[in-house]
Symmetry: C2
Subunit: 333 residues, 2 copies
């Protein structure tokens, strides 16, 4: 039995030495699921920025492009049928990633091969932009070439100029993303709605040209207390993995894929929370700890238990509570 | 059932975007085996240097130290009970790694915890040094603090000033490494001896103070035609993983660990060779390819099938042919 040709992903994201964020969060789950992952790191920090302090450096747009050119020169770039992109520092960096996506797609086209680009337009969270306005404009430009985008609530609002406050406005925002950018698949993560105070909503939409309506769905996931870095990066990685494994037929498919992703992610978070509680118990004897040290102690303990969650990554647990919803209430006036 | 405390490894090695070398070769097998791996990358290249051309950059000694200091500042460094080090560019870089090892060991000591450092003194291969003489001197200094060293034949010769041409001279070299540097465990990889022209020899030695002889053994492995980048890095990573899992009792233990490592590595290489042959068959239609392109085509095809070898990493296959040898012929005069 001949081995299959390796499935190769080029993943352009941030990297940390310790803990999980960016490529460090995405690579292992994808490798475990059988993908050869080429990781082009856009920043190299000692740890994720949530700690408050970190050391390291960012790559310039030229350095990002240079690493890609090394791949081109050795006939390595065109082997990647999948592109996954996350945090990129600066407007020029974002534009360099857009250029890489275009060059890779053209190179694949000349070979008679396709490319699937999952783009996480990392710009901000919880009402706060952590990139420049120039970055936002650059993303508005480059996501037109993406096949799937995975903004969080704030990023979807930033890209559309709309405010998501309800299921009807969420639906309107997804439709607006299809219409403004021509992206086929949209998944909006971590949505908080006043109508569902104890849940996070995750919603998806597949463009169905010629039909009256896009195929749109939403899931309701119980909120986990605390902040866990890298969950968005794991989400995008698993989405790519299962999108490829599943059929990409019109309608239906995306909601099955997102269900698998949420099931795995929920299991990772439960395990992380359990490990975190144990770690905080065993390390809580020092009463002299100041406020900053206490904050860092909690952040350390909240690093994802990713290598410990192999079973949940390989086989997303059956999650009866994860019911896809395709009912959308009308906006009340 | 409470989860075990994560086993954390700090791995200081090179990194490539595409393919397998340094941290990119070591990280996945260790993660698969349940270790949390913190990867501090010493160089960032598009691909391994065997391609002839590559793009990217090296970290300065200051940049390497700075990333480590970020970990110290957030209480992250001391969580690593294992240190794995490989290629480091430049004499100052090697000394920075020695300094990190010392700081980490002292920090662990203050906590009442130990550290196991597996040091691969990457300096050259096949009779050719690819680092400066200053680097060699720096390694001679820092390996005194290592618990395990994994030089290849040329590196063992460089560190001892001896020439390995036979089983007796191999044995003498291992003893010399214990005596000159005080390192407890020595494993020499990829040894070619005129007496065994179709094999590579891998030999190990555990220092047994107070006893007349060290516990020394050797394995004979069939040569695989071709060059496969990253095998030394996978070897050192698996050695660390199984050394920890196995008992480190005097004598005996190291040879069982090395057998597991050779068994997994041999399986990875067989799968890589099979995949390589298939790839070269399907891509061999272009007759206009020049010599350089042909060379690069072969190198691309020889990238390790690492993510495809999960079974062999998790469960080293039974290898009846891998018989540990503890018989050492006398040197003939």
């Amino acid at each position: 039995m001949p081995d299959e040709v390796p499935k190769r992903i080029l993943s352009i994201q941030s990297a940390v030495v310790s803990g999980y964020a960016g490529n460090r969060a995405s690579t292992f789950p994808l490798q475990l699921l059988g993908y050869d992952v080429s990781a082009l790191n856009t920043v190299h920090f000692s740890n994720h920025t949530g700690y408050g302090s970190f050391r390291g450096f960012r790559l310039t747009a030229e350095q990002i492009l240079e690493q890609y050119e090394g791949l081109e020169e050795n006939g390595l770039s065109c082997r990647h049928g999948y592109l996954l992109t996350g945090y990129v520092p600066g407007e020029e960096g974002v534009m360099a990633v857009g250029q890489i996506a275009e060059r890779l797609r053209n190179e694949r086209k000349r070979m008679g091969e396709g490319l699937m680009w999952v783009c996480d337009p990392v710009m901000g969270d919880q009402g706060r932009l952590y990139v420049s306005q120039g970055c936002v404009e650059a993303y508005k430009d480059i996501i037109r070439s993406a096949d799937v985008i995975t903004p969080n609530q704030f990023e979807a609002e930033t890209l559309t100029g709309l405010t998501i406050t309800s299921l009807p406005t969420l639906r309107t925002a997804m439709t607006a993303l299809h219409e403004a950018y021509g992206v086929k698949h949209v998944v909006i993560t971590s949505i908080q709605l006043p109508s569902h105070p104890d849940s996070l909503i995750c919603a998806g939409s597949t463009q169905t040209p010629g039909k009256h309506m896009h195929a749109q769905f939403w899931y309701q996931v119980p909120k986990q207390p605390g902040f866990y870095s890298g969950t968005g990066d794991v989400f995008a990685a698993l989405l790519l993995a299962h999108l490829d494994a599943g059929s990409l037929a019109e309608g239906g498919a995306l909601q099955i894929v997102v269900r698998k992703v949420l099931s795995t992610l929920s299991s990772i978070l439960s395990r992380t929370r359990k490990g975190m509680e144990e770690e905080l118990q065993t390390s809580s004897t020092d009463l002299d700890r100041n406020e900053k040290e206490e904050k860092v102690r909690v952040i350390r303990a909240a690093e994802l238990r990713l290598v410990q969650s192999q079973e949940a990554i390989l086989r997303p647990p059956e999650s009866g509570w994860l019911e896809p919803r395709v009912d959308w209430p009308e906006e009340m006036n």
